[in-house]
């Protein structure tokens, strides 16, 4: 079968970028109330909290360090588990120590990277999944107050995914001779930042 693999990816990317940037504002089918506000607040939520940011990047980076299939399995499963945590947050299900759990996620994920830990895939998935619940809960708690909940959910899921991608892209330096050392230092820094966040909780 004929495939499109020969297509120039960079040119396609440029085209998509151009369409996104220049999308005419007057072409809206109709005004969805609060869409912009909901999407923006959802998108900014994972990005504006540094404890969230470094945990999401750590997930991508650790995935890169673990290699296949973790590099894609973790970013595929994380949003779904996080959304489950979000459901608990929306429903105000009592989950103690959310902020502590988020800070611990930074410490442990950073340590995994720093020590170049390569546990079995299911162990890595359980670690990441457990912390995804805490992060999701924190996001979900904000959802009922969003101007447009669907736009909020879309914004925060996409932002989270892009942060994972950032971690995976940082992990590309593993291909360089000194890459592993740099990644391990980044892991140690993430862990230290987690200790600071834990300190601020108490």
């Amino acid at each position: 079968m004929k495939t499109l693999d020969h297509l120039p990816v960079r040119r396609l990317a440029f085209l998509l970028f151009a369409v996104a940037v220049l999308w005419p504002g007057a072409s809206f089918a109709h005004q969805e109330t609060g869409t912009a506000l909901g999407f923006t607040s959802g998108f900014m939520h994972p990005i504006s909290g540094y404890d969230h940011v470094i945990a999401m990047i750590a997930v991508g980076l650790w995935g890169g360090q673990l290699g296949k299939p973790a590099i894609w399995l973790l970013p595929v499963t994380f949003p779904v588990v996080m959304a489950f945590g979000g459901m608990l947050g929306v429903r105000a299900f009592p989950l103690p120590g959310v902020e502590t759990g988020i800070a611990l996620s930074d410490i442990i994920l950073g340590a995994m990277i720093a020590f170049n830990a390569k546990p079995k895939l299911w162990v890595a998935a359980v670690i990441v999944g457990t912390f995804a619940m805490f992060h999701g809960y924190a996001h979900g708690a904000e959802l009922p107050h969003a101007a447009n909940p669907l736009a909020y959910a879309a914004g925060f899921v996409i932002a989270t995914g892009l942060l994972h991608l950032t971690g995976i892209l940082i992990g590309l330096i593993l291909a360089l001779p000194w890459g592993l050392k740099v990644v391990r230092v980044i892991g140690a820094l993430i862990s230290l930042a987690g200790v600071y966040f834990l300190y601020t909780v108490y």
């Binding site: 693999d5 072409s27 089918a29 949003p79 979000g86």
Partner: protein, 197 residues
Amino acid sequence: MAKLKIFIRNFLLLLFLGLPVTVAAHTISQSVGDFYGGILHTFLVMAHVFPLLALSIVAGQQGPKTAGGGLPVFLIALFSGAVAAFYTPPVTAVFYINLISFIVLGILAALSLKLPRWLFYSVLFFFGCTHGYQNGMELHQTQSPLLFLTGLLAGGLILYSIMAAITVSVKKEWFQIALRVVGSWVAAMGLMMIALF
């Protein structure tokens, strides 16, 4: 020279895309807006665009033959749903079914499962109908329901064809993984929304 050619072509493309649409004094026909409204409903209303995107990815994951055969099924489903909404009293349950479609279609795309053909066509027809129905509820508010419906089908045709074709054709591993990631994002959005109701 080749680089300059690419630059000029890209610049002209940007210029073309950047032409302000608001300079039009008025549209030639007032009802033409309904056609574009129908098309854009598919692409810009978040409640539809994400699940239909996942649906198109799932179609592509079934292979070219099944995806191609699914196109008329999808369009007939969209049409049937929209017409049903026009002639019957509103059924609010459809809204919740469409929320569930985020989760079902998102997870199917994330798992990249090859379904039996009859099952895939059943899923396609069912969710095509429900999304057609919710879109069709707007028909009473339009000046020309027929144009809106035509636009809706055109939008469905474009979205399904492009996404299914890209999914079938681009075999690169990273791209197929990216599509599965998009599926998991759609499922995640659906889970969050379900919690609100």
